[in-house]
């Protein structure tokens, strides 16, 4: 392309042309073309590692492209850093908010862009401008409360106001709904539509097909670093998008036959309570439930309502500072004073909540990650020495069976994509022949193809007689898999349903405390 051509005749808000980016030997983006029209909500979807985040980070100036061009409003742009992109009206809300907890909403918005006069911050003037912005876009916020006291949905609103305050016309939101309740999610999208109608351009990075279908105008699909399709939302359907993402036909929701629970109890907890820091509310209050063998019990709830604490209490009952009204039991063993190793030896498999920190040794090879937790099992050790040949044999088979890619055992776990990391963990945990399976967010950030695979495995474990506790903030996942559903809200079990008896709406309301 002729590089002297500075002004293009395009009217697109943003256009990426033939963008390529390589990290080490990995091609994160190859010849990516993406066009976002002014005044639209544009979805960017793809599996983990498909390159959608990389492309957006290039647009925002975090990465520099190896090749290709960026046009904003028809002008060719070269960023040295995000501040150049911000100056051109591009703003980004990161998946993990960048807010200073103890500061007020107002100060968080001003932070880094304080209007200063004679060395003093002109709070009053800034506040007036913000209030008019909030009115214009219908985004009310309590300006003087510390943001840590505000609900997540409001924190996100503050992030958006931050961008508006900095005159952003193009808003990029990275996985904006991952921490929101269904109600907060629909509020968010109502607000985004309002912003769009006021002339803003919005780009949403997500992996949730449903959101893309209901809230976007156009969609760009990424696969393996390339754009595999750009379609108008009204002319497509979830199945087509899923196929574009994965490159083959996928089963979007698996058919789960009803459970046949056995009489034996797999997990039993009575009156679990955990006090928060003094003065604040309890992290867990009087949580009681049981899981039978051969059934899946789902724990639904927005993240941060006690799920992490519950998992810790189940896995490390001795070390958790929980009070219980009765013993914690696994398979009729009172494990209240057991350590984690002894519990796991009963045949308890765990898919941990945070796979990167709790599930894997990221800098170590796949083979060692496969060994983690099994290093004293008879299969892989004898008299304190590791049986490395056995390990290699078994791990090679497992990597094949669970389709962990790439296949090599010597790649470090950190080199795998999120979905493959998760498959590695599943492969390892199922090596235990689980009698009890505790699966926390088993498909978070996992691509569509791998979700199907992991769901099938969980159901198979159930049918083979394992008692499964499924903790998930994805409503769809709970509704697909769970036979019984508990709703956790502010550390309490506020509702219990049979799957057949509950609608998504009802669950969503309970999750929001309604």
């Amino acid at each position: 392309m002729d590089s002297s051509q500075i002004v293009d005749d395009t009217t697109a808000a943003v256009e990426l042309r033939a963008l390529s980016k390589q990290f080490g030997g990995v091609r994160a983006n190859a010849d990516v073309n993406l066009r976002v029209e002014r005044g639209t909500i544009h979805g960017v979807i793809g599996e983990n590692g498909a390159g959608k985040s990389t492309a957006m980070k290039i647009l925002y100036g975090i990465y520099r492209p190896d090749a290709g061009e960026i046009f904003v409003g028809g002008k060719k742009c070269v960023w040295a850093s995000p501040s150049d992109a911000i100056a051109m009206g591009i703003g980004m809300v990161h998946q993990h908010f960048m807010l200073a907890g103890p500061y007020s909403a107002l100060d968080n918005i001003l932070l880094g862009a304080e209007p200063v006069r004679w060395g003093f911050i002109e709070r009053k003037k800034a506040r007036e401008r913000l209030e008019s912005l909030a009115r214009q876009y219908g985004l009310p916020v309590e300006w003087d409360r510390p943001v840590e006291q505000l609900p997540v949905g409001i924190q996100q609103r503050i992030e958006i106001l931050k961008l508006l305050y900095r005159h952003s016309n193009i808003l990029i939101l990275d996985e904006p709904t991952s921490v929101l309740t269904p109600q907060e999610t629909s509020d968010l999208f109502a607000n985004l539509k309002k912003l769009r109608d006021e002339g803003k351009t919005i780009v949403i990075i997500t992996h949730k097909l449903k959101e893309v279908m209901s809230f976007t105008d156009r969609v760009t699909v990424f696969r393996a670093g390339k754009v595999t399709g750009e379609v108008e939302t009204s002319r497509t359907n979830p199945q087509e998008l899923a196929n574009l993402m994965v490159g083959r036909k996928v089963v979007l929701s698996i058919d789960v036959p009803p459970a046949r629970p056995r009489p034996e109890t797999a997990i039993e907890v009575q009156g679990l309570s955990l006090a928060g820091p003094s003065g604040s509310r309890h992290k867990l209050s009087d949580v009681s439930f049981s899981v039978k063998r051969g059934e899946i019990v789902g724990v639904a709830g927005v993240e941060g309502n006690g799920q992490s604490e519950l998992l810790q209490a189940l896995l490390h009952p001795r070390e958790s500072r929980c009070r219980t009204a009765g013993p914690v039991r696994y398979l009729a063993n009172d494990v209240t004073v057991w350590d984690a190793a002894k519990i796991r030896d009963l045949g308890v498999a765990v898919i941990p909540e945070d796979r990167q920190s709790e599930g894997l040794l990221l800098e170590r090879p796949v083979s060692e990650n496969f060994l983690l937790g099994l290093q004293r099992s008879d299969a892989f050790s004898r008299a304190g020495f590791l049986r490395l040949r056995n390990l290699e044999k078994t791990a090679t088979l497992a990597v094949e069976e669970y389709d962990v890619r790439p296949r090599g055992l010597m790649n470090t776990a950190g080199q795998l994509s999120g979905g493959n990391q998760q498959k590695l963990i599943v492969a390892r945990e199922f090596q235990r022949q689980p009698q009890v399976l505790i699966a926390a967010q088993p498909t978070r950030g996992v691509d569509v193809g791998a979700i199907e695979f992991i769901h099938n495995r969980i159901v198979r474990a159930r049918d083979e007689g394992a008692g499964v506790l499924l903790v998930s903030s994805e409503l769809d996942e709970i509704l697909t898999l769970a036979d019984r559903i508990l709703v956790l809200y502010e550390g309490r079990v506020v509702a219990e349903f049979q799957r057949a008896d509950v609608s998504e709406r009802e669950l969503g309301l309970k999750m929001g405390g309604g």
Binding site: G49, I205, A340, L360, L361, S381, L386
Partner: protein, 352 residues
């Protein structure tokens, strides 16, 4: 290949800087280099002295490395080796009648045990009380220094000497010195150190316990979730680290001095940190790095006598510069990073 190149470059850089300093002081760098080479490897005796300094550095390097694999920073090797040497000397002085095969074994076990206890204390404090091992190991270094001075000056003072040292150990305790080194005190402690390096390798890479140690060092949350008691593993790792450092006492007390001399160690414990770093915490690398620092120690000692302008202090500067450039691991990654774009690849696979 690159793994090998970086430490070699670091050593070369440190040496070049050090030679530049001697050049400013008025010595020809070439001359200095020749003295260094001759001082460390020139004769059987010189090489023997190099090996004599190498031996304790292998032990302390391994000590730091084992702790490091468990995610701990053992700055206490100096204290651990001090109490180890003292224990060997006390046993040898108190039961001086013990004879050959049993006596050295008892003394070695005493050194091992004393070092182990000195490592266990900060290990336990870290694992069960959460107080940081860096602070506690440093404190224990001081306590060890005070304790040994007290023992050497009051309890077991050598009546035949003006120096702060303990009574000599019984003759049955002395271990074999190799004759081929022209009288340099190279003893059976050297093969013991090499054996220790091999055992540490087996432990770390071939046993369940070693895997657990490395898992805890890599990621405590992951180890914990896998049912590994991270606290217990940390205590074990610090015990091992202490024991390894304690074995320094074998070469010094049984293989060389025949008694405990206050201040015998020219900070072997701290040089051990550089040894572990340069050896990338791998036993084979530590053997090589210990030899290098041993040679440097011996070579720079000779600079003092053999040149006009380079004094003991300047030769210490030379050593320090090598250590500094080895420790500047961050510098290398930083220089690599600078050639990359704005923000390095972080959290690449997390969100998308």
């Amino acid at each position: 290949m690159r793994k090998l190149l970086q430490p070699i470059l670091a050593v070369a850089l440190g040496l070049a800087l050090g030679l530049a300093v001697t050049w400013i002081a008025g010595e020809s760098p070439w001359h200095v280099l020749k003295i260094l080479e001759k001082g460390a490897f020139g004769s059987g005796y010189d090489f023997g002295m190099t090996l004599f300094y190498t031996t304790p550095l292998i032990f302390t390097g391994l000590s730091v490395a084992v702790a490091f694999h468990a995610g701990l920073f053992n700055i206490g090797a100096e204290g651990q080796l001090t109490v180890g040497a003292l224990a060997a000397a006390v046993v040898g002085a108190v039961w001086s009648g013990l004879s050959a095969p049993l006596a050295p074994v008892v003394a070695v076990l005493a050194a091992l045990l004393a070092g182990t206890i000195w490592g266990a204390i900060p290990g336990w404090l870290r694992a069960r009380r959460g107080s940081h091992e860096v602070i506690n190991t440093i404190m224990l270094n001081f306590i060890a220094a005070g304790l040994t001075s007290y023992v050497a000056l009051y309890l077991l003072k050598n009546p035949d000497s003006q120096n702060p040292e303990t009574r000599p150990i019984g003759p049955g305790y002395l271990i074999h010195q190799f004759g081929i080194f022209g009288g340099a005190p190279v003893s059976a402690a050297l093969p013991l150190a090499i054996l220790a390096a091999a055992l540490v390798w087996v432990l770390l890479w071939r046993t369940s316990l070693g895997f657990e140690i490395r898992a805890v060092g890599q990621s405590e949350p992951a180890a914990r979730a896998a049912g590994i008691d991270a606290g217990r593993i940390r205590i074990i790792a610090m015990c091992l680290a202490g024991g390894l450092a304690g074995l320094v006492g074998v070469g010094e007390v049984l293989g060389n001095a025949g008694k405990f001399k206050v201040g015998f160690s020219p900070e072997f414990g701290f040089i051990g940190i550089a040894v572990a770093l340069l050896g990338r915490n791998q036993p084979a690398g530590i053997l090589a790095a210990a030899l290098l620092f041993g040679a440097l120690h011996k070579g720079t000692a000779d600079l003092d006598f053999e040149t006009e302008h380079v004094t003991r202090e300047l030769s210490l500067i030379l050593q320090a510069l090598v250590i500094l450039s080895v420790s500047a691991d961050g510098l290398w990654s930083w220089m690599k990073e600078r050639r990359r774009p704005v923000i390095p690849e972080t959290a690449g696979g997390v969100t998308c």
